[in-house]
Symmetry: C2
Subunit: 520 residues, 2 copies
């Protein structure tokens, strides 16, 4: 047994049996170990932005970490932007980054770089397996660090080639890590929350992280109905349970003015697995924090604490036992069949109508996503995975990972075209693994968000030079060709009716398909 075998076996001993990978020479012993470790499934991505984004999508749905296998500093670098999103989603991920053999490092070979410096901004834990024997302990440490109570983190284990190829000493065995359970919330914060909910002043409850799942949403609604508080979700969420039979929850708006105005009335904000809402960007003369300065913040559950337990405790505190109101759930109600041109509205309606129960909806629609979010509140029950860190290019990879986590569920990706370009290579992995993913490209042929933001920062209307940075219509990308080139069947639609037909047909079959929706 060598260090690479020990790594595989330690991962398996800790229930990590899926590895997203793009290996290179320094990882070849890990690759060879795969042939001796049939239980470890290894999925290839054609660029590391796919590898890390897929690991994020997998872990959000499987509720356990995936591993990634990356090739030295540059391999890690290519995957960093989706690791940034994973960090903001509190997703547990273990990166295994191959490095040169320890004795080779001082020679500064061409691929050598400061891997630690690259890894630290996205990782809670960064370490090295200095010897083959140390692999078991270091891997278990790294895995332990992917969980801090309820919160997930990224760990990066640097794995020198000689630690992989050297024989392990007799008696060294895989180490099992005992995951820390979610921590209970602090009683005084729960008491403060209950007191605020009873004092008559306007209270806002902001839910985030795992408090976006059905049971937590219901508790939030119960508390609100019993006390008159308002409940909102964070602006960007890693995973929301939504649709008919669930509590429909509005979110804190993205535009600063709308958010500040919506939050202005509140004197107390209770955070449950959420953080104090701040503007995504700064704008001249606008606020950074969106709650009023005199609004008291009570953190009922930090990201590391159990948000469900916090909500149960608050509900117990504000409603006498046995007197809880039934939470108001969304009815099942689909919008009318959309007609005419494809707009954010008709597209949202078509997808909301056609997606089956249990769909995993990956939302990287950016400017085109709002109407869908509205319609989907009453659509068949589904999960929504969102863009948490603002690093575009998460959609196709997240869908890839989610489909591997939940092979029996349909995955639908709402993919803005500008963002989709960042990681279109993920379509190839969907084809290779025969994943049941429908990708809808919102082809408006521009970075529409930037036209909005250009005005928002007070920079005026774009001229010719500026427009060349905002529009991608020259040449107009052909997503049907791109998709076919990656091995995924594709079709182009230019009306809402054709889009509905294409969606209906895609929902009836299994396997990856892409629909390019040409938008106004």
């Amino acid at each position: 047994m060598n260090g690479a075998d020990l790594l595989c076996q330690t991962l398996l001993a800790n229930d990590v049996n899926l590895c997203f990978a793009n290996p290179g020479t320094s990882e070849m012993h890990f690759v060879a170990a795969l042939d001796r470790t049939a239980d470890m499934r290894c999925v290839l991505g054609l660029s590391e932005i796919v590898v890390t984004g897929a690991a994020d999508g997998f872990a959000r749905m499987a509720e356990k970490p995936a591993a990634t296998l990356l090739h030295l500093g540059p391999g890690l670098a290519n995957g960093l932007s989706n690791l940034h999103n994973a960090r903001r989603a509190s997703t547990p991920i273990l990166n295994v980054v191959g490095d040169h053999a320890t004795y080779h490092l001082p020679y500064d070979a061409p691929l050598a770089s400061d891997i630690e410096s690259l890894a630290r901004p996205v990782s809670r834990w960064v370490g090295r397996a200095e010897t083959a024997d140390s692999v078991a302990v270091r891997t278990a440490e790294a895995l332990a660090a992917t969980r801090d109570g309820a919160e997930g983190h990224v760990s990066t284990l640097i794995f020198p080639a000689d630690s992989a190829w050297s024989a392990v000493s007799g008696g060294v065995r895989p180490v099992r890590n005992k995951p820390a359970g979610a921590r209970p919330p602090a009683r005084e914060n729960i008491e403060a929350a209950c007191a605020a909910l009873g004092d008559g002043a306007p209270v806002l409850l902001i839910l985030g992280s795992d408090a976006m799942r059905s049971r937590a949403l219901e508790l939030g609604a119960i508390i609100a109905q019993a006390t008159g508080a308002t409940v909102l979700s964070e602006n960007a969420s890693r995973r929301i349970e939504r649709g008919a039979g669930r509590v429909p929850l509005p979110r804190v708006p993205y535009p600063v003015d709308a958010a500040v105005s919506m939050l202005a009335p509140f004197r107390t904000a209770i955070l449950v697995g959420a953080t104090d809402p701040v503007a995504f960007f700064a704008y001249p003369g606008k606020r950074s924090r969106m709650l009023p300065d005199d609004c008291r913040i009570i953190t009922a559950a930090t990201l590391a604490e159990d948000p469900l337990l916090a909500l149960e405790m608050i509900a117990d505190g504000v409603v006498p036992a046995g007197r809880r109101p039934a939470p108001t759930l969304a009815p099942f109600e689909l919008p009318p069949a959309p007609q005419g041109r494809i707009t954010a509205d008709t597209l949202g309606a078509a997808v909301a109508r056609e997606m089956p129960e249990g769909t995993i909806l990956v939302n990287e629609a950016i400017t085109g996503g709002e109407p869908f979010s509205r319609y989907s509140m009453r659509a068949r029950p589904h999960d929504v995975l969102g863009l948490t860190g603002g690093a575009i290019g998460c959609g196709i990879p997240l869908a890839t990972g989610a489909a591997l986590a939940c092979p029996d569920r349909k995955v639908v990706t709402l993919q803005a075209d500008g963002s989709g370009f960042y990681s279109l290579q993920g379509l190839w992995t969907q084809a290779r693994e025969r994943l049941d993913v429908v990708t809808v490209i919102l082809a408006n042929r521009r970075y529409a968000i930037l036209r909005y933001e250009l005005a928002n920062v007070g920079a005026g209307a774009p001229g010719v030079n500026a427009s060349r940075m905002l529009d991608i219509d020259d040449p107009a990308p052909d997503w049907v060709s791109l998709s076919k080139g990656m091995g995924v069947e594709a079709t182009r639609v230019e009306t809402a009716e054709a889009l509905s037909d294409a969606l209906a047909s895609a929902m009836k079959r299994r396997g990856p398909v892409l629909i390019e929706a040409i938008m106004d």
Copy 2:
């Protein structure tokens, strides 16, 4: 005038008039400034791996820095792997990385991250423009740091949004940086080199960096012919002048055994703009350094010193004035027209035959490149840009930048398919800018280098699981579709004759085209 205007004007004052970009909200004031600064050309890349690789290709050919404009930490992260290659190529590049407004940073908004930690591994200089007024001085500092004598470096200037949008105080003007010239080599090292060349023991001269240009190659050949020394180039070179009428220079081989055996006879190695050759990777039981341990190293020119001057001084020291032999130059001799299947050999012959004089040949052929390098020694004179840092995905972006630097020259990219996937988005920029680039995809549908390396590290033959990490034939990518999807005309060829015809036709026209060469 705001800070963004001042940045544009400072760049222009320092002869930086091309900016490769993928901007976001925090860079919108820079984008708006473009409308007021018509002399600044801004080229959009659909992913930052294209942006940074194109900057590298541009600077290698234009011999002056390009700027990049990147969106916060994640935008920089996506471009790091090609910045790693640029660092190894000693290419001068100025990255401008937008950041949140300074007062917004403490709120840890979703896109916030430790940009400095991400930038440092690839950058000689990392700094911030803390105020609008400081932009001129900081930009000039950053540009000065892109040059250390003969050596180029990457500088990363972090540019907070409020420094961009705030008004500049009266009297603040663009600052011009005086680039440091190449330093002269140390006389004692030149004298040591001359003495070694005269002492009768076998001497190796290794040329790198700018010593791969015609005049330097000729001086190397003169020295070798006069003294019996051997001349080699480094394994990977940023830019080589090659072909008929130039000195054909073999390189230090990639395989360790071949390199160690080739270098074994030498008792002295003289480095001119090159470093002590080390193995690209470590392999069990093989050496890291490839020169013999008892071989004396004389650094006649460090990377920062003038390699041409060093060679002139050595030539003067070893050959009496007026007695220099004429260097042996490569004759013009094309291989016979290749026939039959497309292999590395027939592909190399076809490209060597068809490329016109003055071609810029971007070589990311990986395993398929050796025969071309052989044939090209006697082909029409051309420049070769190579993969310097081992981070794959440089080919299409380098070609994009080189074509912008030299609009009157044909650019031909030899692009391995596995590596090409990393940055295929660059084809779109070639279409948008109507660049005169012929991309030849070496479609062997595997990471062929890794099959070689798996054996090389002693990990044995790949089984089913391992093969899934090395082969990309399921599904087989369709590069013609991918290219058309990006707006670049494309054709597929399956014989050497068809490849020759496609190349001949591509050479006759202008504008981007892709040829997918299906290889055995």
